[in-house]
């Protein structure tokens, strides 16, 4: 070897990237050349001195921050890759549902299967008596001294005064009861009265109980959108959340998630929408949850809940 090759060979040796033959050449040359020995010492010192520069450690904060970022990114990609069910599949699913319903109706008619709940035409407070009539709610009467009671036999009682004293008792799916409750949800003036009406609705409608009528859903959706008291809006959201999801309920909850100023209400909306989306993912809900999950201006709890909700949805 020649002196000018020293650095190259010495580096190769330092990096363990020098074959045995060249290593022997280097050793022989160094034994005979003092200048190269000095030069090599200088080079090795330079190499060693570079070790004085300490490695940057991965701090717990950086680690936590990055893991969170990566989880978000994975989630974002999952959401981005989400595609709603194709139109053909949707039509097939609807057709299958119709067939199942038709078959069930056919067998019920032939076999005399009892309907799940007997139609109750306004069960009176005492059997054999005509049902007390409701005042004409279209006239928007002012109802006062409203009190509620739920009897053990599943009947709901509502006493109130309009021009005269009224006492309405019936099953929750009794149209008179539904109409009256919907009216009270809309017309009650104080937060306390509204809250009590919503509680009665929550107790008597929903899973394992009666199906809330469209007018009750509408009244709750309106309360959720317009009531000034966040506690009332939250109760309305919770009541809607307890019902089987429909387009109208989803729309009301999406509106609350996007626009309600109270994070507690938005949290209820997130949970309710997520629960519905787990059953049947719909693009608008997924998109809204995604926006919330990544909205830097959103409340931290709402963001976190939206992110968790998305993770739980099978996209």
């Amino acid at each position: 070897m020649e002196c000018r090759e020293l650095t190259e060979l010495a580096l190769g040796r330092l990096l363990g990237d020098l074959d045995a033959g060249r290593r022997d050449d280097l050793e022989r040359h160094l034994a005979a050349c003092r200048t190269c020995r000095d030069e090599l010492a200088l080079l090795e010192e330079t190499w060693e001195t570079l070790g004085a520069d300490l490695d940057a450690p991965v701090t717990p904060e950086f680690r936590a921050r990055t893991i969170e970022l990566l989880e978000d990114e994975m989630l974002r990609r999952r959401v981005r890759e989400f595609r709603p069910r194709s139109r053909v599949l949707r039509v097939l699913a609807q057709a299958a549902a119709i067939l199942v319903a038709a078959a069930a109706g056919f067998f019920a008619a032939r076999g005399g299967v009892e309907p799940a709940s007997k139609p109750v035409a306004g069960a009176p407070a005492s059997a054999g008596q005509p049902a007390p009539s409701l005042p004409d709610l279209a006239e928007k009467p002012r109802l006062s001294n409203v009190s509620y009671k739920t009897a053990h036999d599943g009947l709901v009682g509502i006493d109130f005064e309009a021009t005269t004293k009224h006492s309405i008792t019936g099953r929750p799916d009794d149209p008179r009861v539904s109409s009256l409750l919907a009216y009270l949800l809309s017309a009650n003036e104080t937060s306390g009265e509204k809250s009590r009406a919503i509680e009665l609705v929550s107790e008597n409608y929903g899973p394992g109980a009666a199906v809330a009528s469209p007018e009750i859903v509408f009244a709750l959706a309106t309360t959720l959108k317009r009531d000034r008291n966040p506690g009332v809006r939250k109760k309305a959201a919770e009541a809607l959340a307890s019902f089987r999801s429909t387009g109208e309920i989803r729309s009301a909850l999406l509106d609350a998630l996007a626009n309600d100023p109270n994070p507690g209400v938005r949290l209820v909306a997130v949970d309710a929408l997520a629960a519905a989306a787990r059953e049947a993912p719909d693009p608008k809900t997924i998109q809204s949850l995604r926006e919330k999950a990544f909205d830097p201006d959103e409340n931290g709890f709402v963001r976190a809940r939206a992110a968790s909700a998305l993770k739980a949805i099978d996209l």
Binding site: T49, A56, F62, I67, L70, R77
Partner: protein, 190 residues
């Protein structure tokens, strides 16, 4: 290189399938190496963290592009090297430390003086590294601090083995000259 070849590839498979745990494991495995690489390339801790995060985010979006020809670690370092170059272009503050700013290595002392000298010595080494050209520094850092052989560095940087040797050679010559400028102090620190 941090992880086994098949292990690393299975992590990429998991990432491709949308498993966040795969990304987290890959981070645990390679973040220390990538962070220290970025730190030395950029000379700025904050920028290094930013670039390291960027690398892992890119891995998530590009996991399907990994063709298996290079080791996963080489692929990660290649992404990191590109990200550092982009970062330096974006942010010139972290990029240029003029050679004139590179100080001489301070003398070794006792006690507190020694500790201070140690800090100054580290700072001087850092400045010396920053005084190298980007190309030289990439090759040198991968060789000196990550122990990559020439062939692996060539794969990471997308250049020939000969070019790698030349870059490292020139980097060492520059540093040697730099450290030798104050011969007395150079001898003193050692």
């Amino acid at each position: 290189m941090a992880g086994g070849l098949s292990d690393d590839r299975s992590l990429l498979d998991r990432i491709r399938r949308g498993d966040a745990g795969g990304a987290e494991e890959l981070f645990e495995r390679y973040a220390p190496s990538l962070l220290k690489f970025a730190d030395r390339m950029l000379g700025n801790r904050e920028s290094a963290e930013e670039v390291t995060q960027e690398v892992f985010v890119k891995v998530i979006s590009r996991a399907h592009q990994y063709d298996g020809r290079a080791a996963v670690a080489s692929w990660l370092f290649a992404i990191a090297a590109n990200a550092c170059r982009d970062k330096r272009r974006r942010d010139r503050r972290a990029a240029v430390v003029p050679l004139e700013a590179v100080g001489e290595l301070p003398a070794r002392g006792e006690g507190a003086e020694a500790r201070m000298a140690g800090r100054e010595r580290r700072a001087a080494v850092r400045r010396a590294l920053e005084g190298l050209s980007e190309e030289q520094r990439e090759a040198l850092v991968l060789a000196r601090y990550h122990g990559l052989p020439y062939s692996e560095i060539a794969r990471v940087l997308g250049i020939s083995v000969g070019a790698v040797k030349t870059r490292i050679f020139r980097a060492v010559e520059t540093l040697k000259a730099r450290f030798s400028e104050g011969e007395a102090s150079w001898n003193a620190v050692n």
